[in-house]
Amino acid sequence: MKNAVFIDHLSVTREKTGILHDISLSVDQGLVVGLLGPSGAGKTTLMQAIMGLVRPASGHVTVLGETAGSKALRPQIGYVTQSPSVYLDLTVRENLRYFGAIAGTSTAREDRVARDVHLNEHAGQLVASLSGGQRARVSLAVALLGHPRLLVLDEPTVGLDPVLRQELWQQFHDLADGGVTLIISSHVMDEASRCDSLILLRDGRLLATGSPAELTRGTRTRNIEDAFLKLVETTK
């Protein structure tokens, strides 16, 4: 099994309107994959489909060889939503301890992920007292707890300072070197160059997939933003 994610003619509808239309793609293991597109393109819905949180109207999503949402996947995948899904009225450490107990990890692991996201100094602080960027990192730390083989991150770097953003991308690549597959959404095209592979999405349709170099070469453009525009034009 080489694919971390395999999506076969996936469509998702909600309240009778389509959100995703006939999407087929595959994601290789051990890559940092960028999911790019403007807001409203369906990035979050696609991530939810991979996590098994939305039921496809048609088509099929396979994750690590299992149908998306199957019970066997739960210990192997980590999901970080756009808004930090942690308890504001608990401290950083208490959040990690609780989610760690659910995932079945050790306290040493909890300390480790807190250090990884540079929150060890704030471990005793209530999450409610942290800044937006710090809260996002608590949420990321929770997702890292159980050594997931697939990490799905919805806009994890929004509002972070450049130094920290740089460090987080480095961490993402370190994880990928260890065999973890990461799917990271962003509406900022300049983060594309940091990814091994890209999925371009617009209006619920797949625009293109490929490495940043392939996409710019194929469209004869100099950056992903221009490539995106060119692709929108040609698919009209």
Partner: protein, 244 residues
């Protein structure tokens, strides 16, 4: 299902409460203060107070746990933490039982304090004694909790969830036999009150007040309350959806 995850959840809910001392204070003290006020509302008519006080002690945990749980669960639904837990190796029952365990403890603590003040200081006597009374109070808290959990699925905002108190709890308060014996109510309301959980809470407290033994009717009331807990838990679990 795993006891480790259930206990971790109960511990987490209690920790959240511990970071919120004002809520703990309100939960623990308000019923006791209301009992003291009620005592002096009746003032010289102490026979009426003696009759009403045990029933009201049974109603408090029901109403308080209903509100606390519906807000807590609504927060869990809207903050994304529920969605996260559903993508983790967590059984729905672990989450529900964890909440149940934590809030049952709170209901017992509340009942202990309000009961001690009512029996020890305000001079109310119950034949059944403290153990009977606390059993009814804890079960009453569990019924309120599980109904709150279920009803939170129908609230989109905390404003709506708070309005469920007058919508769901007040009608039961009127029809449960607290104000007027149920036999005197209009037939239709009597039938309706037959299927309302608070009716059995109040009836159980009447039994505890009058008899020292576990009477047949008391045991029946406790079973009906337990059935409401199980039923609301099943309905509540159905509202915790993994997929949309």
């Amino acid at each position: 299902m795993s006891p480790r995850r259930t206990f971790a959840t109960a511990g987490r809910v209690l920790k959240q409460l511990r970071h919120d001392p004002r809520t703990i204070g309100l939960i623990l003290l308000v019923p006791s203060i209301l009992m003291i006020i009620l005592k002096y509302v009746f003032n010289d008519a102490s026979a009426s107070f003696q009759q009403l006080a045990p029933m009201i002690l049974g109603i408090f945990p029901f109403a308080v746990m209903f509100v606390v749980t519906s807000i807590a669960t609504l927060r869990e639904r809207t903050s994304g933490t529920l969605e996260r837990l559903m993508t983790m190796p967590m059984a729905k029952l672990d989450l529900l039982l964890g909440y149940g365990l934590a809030f049952a403890l709170v209901a017992v603590a509340q009942g202990l304090l309000a009961g001690a003040i009512t029996l020890g200081w305000l001079g109310v006597t119950v034949e059944g004694g403290a153990v009977h009374m606390l059993t009814v109070a804890a079960l009453s808290g569990l019924v309120g909790m599980t109904l709150g959990l279920f009803s939170s699925a129908f609230a989109r905002s905390e404003f709506q969830a708070v309005q469920f108190l007058p919508a769901f709890v007040f009608p039961q308060l009127l029809m449960c036999g607290l104000f007027v014996p149920r036999a005197q109510m209009a037939q239709l309301l009597r039938w309706i009150s037959d299927v309302m959980p608070l009716t059995y809470v109040v009836d159980a407290m009447k039994q505890v007040t009058l008899y020292s033994a576990w009477t047949g009717q008391l045991v029946r009331d406790l079973f009906v309350m337990a059935a409401f807990v199980v039923g609301a838990l099943i309905l509540g679990a159905a509202t915790l959806k993994r997929t949309r």
